[in-house]
Symmetry: C2
Amino acid sequence: MSLYILSLLKTKMYRLILKNFSMHIVLDAAETELVVSRLQYKTVKKNTVLLDAGAIAKNIYFVKKGCLRIFNSDQEGLEHNILFCPENWWAVDIASFSGQTPAFYSIAALEDTEVLYFSYPTLEQLYIEIPKLERFFRILTQNGFYLYQLRVTSNLSKSAEERYALFQKQYPQLELRIAQKQIASYLGITPVFLSMIRKRKT
Amino acid sequence: MSLYILSLLKTKMYRLILKNFSMHIVLDAAETELVVSRLQYKTVKKNTVLLDAGAIAKNIYFVKKGCLRIFNSDQEGLEHNILFCPENWWAVDIASFSGQTPAFYSIAALEDTEVLYFSYPTLEQLYIEIPKLERFFRILTQNGFYLYQLRVTSNLSKSAEERYALFQKQYPQLELRIAQKQIASYLGITPVFLSMIRKRKT
């Protein structure tokens, strides 16, 4: 394969994640090369579990294509979706990953999904080699905090209709791709009630 | 006042916060000088409100002496304590501070309290001048995430007795300093029930 084709493929492969980095930091050519060389890639089939609650989160995932969900299971075994992570989102149990402690959340694929990811030691090493990555992940963590806080508080203080409107705003078009029961589990309502809300809105 | 006395006072003034920074980063003399020169200091009386829910968090506070609490009020006006911040803790509504958006939480003093703090623009400027501060606040944010997640999930999955034991472990000796009703509001139980738990344990 010619270098030109290789370079084109690489551009396509890393375009989205490099654009994601560029939201908060500017990487020069050498830094970009280094970051890209450390990224791992895999495809996972729908329903594949990437992290099991109780295990230690080894990786931080960037969704290149498809959709992941972060969820926990209560004592009755019911699953509660905390976050959907479609293209351009990062997925991690940040407390588990950053402290290398057992995860509270699980992560699984809602569709056939392509991810790019860093392992924990790889990212710790990269922080040393490219300190400005600290900035990126500081901002990412802060934004994650914001989202998580919003989730916790909106479940306490907003009606199901309001939460559904927020979901639609946060994830445009996503409801066309994933199962109704997954959305209901995110909203904290039954699929039947979600169906009623949808009918009322149309 | 002699330079020697001034320097001694300064050492005492900033000893705790500099030790806190040194948990995660190494500041050289010039960086230490710069950080210290940007820190602001104030004392607040018991019950003073440092941040009102709905306002934008302007500052990130480090508790030098005393104790702050972070709390929210529900629609019935009941207050729920999210976190206590005694000496050596940082207090902020991180989502509000980092996004400069209206705060969900309030922050108030449980005792006469001394704080050191950075304003938002000051800290943003310091990130540029001393990039390794990004590391410190990345780790702080991650730890905050962990604590917050623990709070949310332990309220769902642990008994009041277990939550009380966690509180005692996380905040040794604090229960001798603050009102029973504040601890009850942290545990999500009534003061009467807390009193029963305490009696059972002794």
